[in-house]
């Protein structure tokens, strides 16, 4: 065990502070808007902190660290693509300004405004499934990270997973978005500090020339140039760029921060300033992963190599800060995701099965129950499921199940007058087909006919999902204009 008494002290103080703060803030929740979007009173700096904290979990460090370990410097391109995509959304207000203007709390609410209640139900189900599957591996990866860094080994993974999920459920369920925002801020400060500590420690212990030599030795030109790396290439780059634009504008946990902003203008600023952190958010852990390759060699477990390096080189005291930072990163992500998916399940699935909406108090209670159920599911799923390909690609393919169709529906709904209900159904269903096909069929990759093998290529499936969703929206809408005339958005704005 590499953790000493001082490290434990830092960790315990941090955990107690987070729980106390998260539960204390519960007093500010007085209605549904307070619970789900913090009364729409988030200003720019707080918005950036909470958005960045949501988008940085230990899982983020794990999948980017893994990519650095298995592909060298060439994966750094992903950070640049993410920064460009989020910058585009922030600068232009693409989708988010319109969503904030219409004062929706979840993205499927927009489907009802622009299309129909049934589209909202279908969209809500796909978003919920894609989102919860996406989140399914977070706990396991975080458990691996913390058990390696703290020196407990694989036998402690399950226990760490249980402790983390119980703490997050406790304050998210009680305090909703108020708790999420306030604890996110504290967590952002701590995780930023721990990232600085880890980066400096790695720089002091791993020689940059050795990193370069090791990458070249292991991966050749593919370790430097993403276009010739077999994991990446043009198709991957196009997919990830489109996917980041879609996720930036439409991924409920992040977008909910824009929807909680004071105004559409503040929402745009939050996205723009957060985008400046996105290249660093990816490249810092990727750099740790490349350093792990240079320090430990190529024979390590790809997921455990980077945390193992940090556990070995980080001095005591700082190790406690590092683990507190990683826990902070994870808890801020879990809380935002739990709230996002439980609010979608409650408002866009369960409520849409009824003819009348639930009252505000009932909605809050159902949201709390669903959040608890999701947390329990995450534990079971995380312990059982073996992910295909890298964690990064798994996350983007499960995300594409929803974002591909959502991009078609929402972008067309805002910017194309002829988009109609049939087009929306086609976009949502066709967008989910390729990723779902990948997740199911990749288990039988070896026994499939050659002509179908393209579906088990994660990059092809990912890009295909966006092409199919776009095609579905255009063809579905244009061929049914008379039978299903488009709904004008302005006439049905919420207040």
């Amino acid at each position: 065990m590499t953790f000493n008494l001082f490290d434990w002290l830092i960790l315990i103080v941090y955990l107690l502070l987070t729980i106390a703060l998260g539960i204390w803030v519960k007093r500010y929740v007085e209605d549904l808007s307070g619970y789900l979007v913090a009364g729409r009173r988030i200003k720019v700096s707080l918005g950036v902190a909470t958005f960045a904290a949501t988008e940085i979990g230990t899982i983020t460090f794990m999948y980017f660290g893994e990519l650095g370990y298995v592909s060298g410097f060439s994966c750094f391109v992903i950070g640049l693509l993410a920064m460009l995509a989020y910058m585009f959304v922030g600068k232009t207000g693409f989708i988010i300004s319109a969503l904030r203007r219409h004062q929706v709390m979840t993205i499927p609410e927009f489907y009802e405004l622009r299309y129909s209640r049934r589209v909202r139900l279908i969209g809500g189900i796909i978003l919920f499934l894609g989102g919860v599957l996406n989140m399914g591996i977070f706990l396991k990866f975080d458990g691996i990270f913390l058990s390696e860094v703290m020196g407990f080994g694989p036998q402690a993974v399950a226990l760490i997973m249980v402790v983390m999920v119980v703490i997050v459920i406790a304050y998210t369920v009680l305090g909703g978005m108020f708790s999420v925002v306030v604890t996110d801020f504290l967590q952002f400060v701590i995780l930023s500090l721990s990232m600085i500590v880890a980066t400096i420690t790695v720089l002091l212990n791993v020689d940059l020339t050795r990193m370069s030599a090791m990458v070249t030795e292991q991966y050749g030109d593919g370790g430097i140039n993403p276009l010739v790396n077999p994991r990446f290439g043009w198709m991957f780059i196009v997919w990830i760029l489109i996917s980041n634009v879609a996720a930036g504008a439409l991924w409920q946990p992040g977008t909910s921060k824009a929807l909680a902003s004071e105004s559409p203008e503040v929402a745009r600023k939050v996205f723009f300033y957060t985008s400046l952190t996105f290249a660093g958010r990816a490249m810092v852990p990727m750099f740790w992963g490349v350093a792990a390759l240079a320090y430990l060699g190529p024979g390590e477990s790809t997921t455990a190599a980077m945390p193992k390096l940090l556990g070995m080189v980080t001095p005591h005291g700082f190790l406690g800060l590092l683990v507190a930072g990683m826990l902070a990163a994870s808890m801020s992500t879990y809380s935002a995701y739990l709230l996002a998916w439980s609010s979608v399940a409650t408002r866009d699935v369960i409520a849409c099965l009824r003819t009348t909406n639930f009252g505000e108090r009932t909605t809050i209670w159902i949201t709390r129950l669903v959040a608890t159920l999701i947390g329990t599911f995450l534990l079971v799923f995380g312990l059982w499921y073996q992910i295909p390909d890298t964690a990064f690609q798994y996350l983007f393919i499960t995300g594409a199940m929803y974002t591909a169709g959502a991009l078609g529906c929402v972008a067309a709904g805002i910017y194309w007058r002829r988009a109609n209900t049939v087009g929306a159904y086609c976009a949502l269903i066709m967008g989910a087909m390729a990723p779902a096909g990948f997740l199911i069929l990749e288990k039988w990759r070896g026994s499939m006919p050659t002509w179908m093998s393209f579906i088990t290529d994660v990059n092809v499936s990912g890009l295909l999902s966006f092409i199919l969703a776009f095609t579905g929206m255009v063809i579905g809408s244009l061929t049914t204009q008379k039978a299903f005339p488009p709904v004008k958005l302005g006439a049905e704005e919420t207040t």
Partner: protein, 45 residues
């Protein structure tokens, strides 16, 4: 060191520095925003 690797390391340095500068500014200014959020008269109990 290969030129490509050096180029990526420079991009990494700029990106990491940008991240930490934004994090520092946001951490300082965020306290004010947090105070405003929690002093919301309607929500104060």
């Amino acid at each position: 060191m290969r030129t490509g690797a050096l180029l990526w390391l420079i991009i990494f340095a700029v990106s990491a520095a940008t991240f930490f500068v934004v994090a520092f500014i946001v951490s300082i200014n965020g306290f004010g925003d947090l105070r405003d959020l929690l002093s919301w008269p309607k929500a104060r109990k």
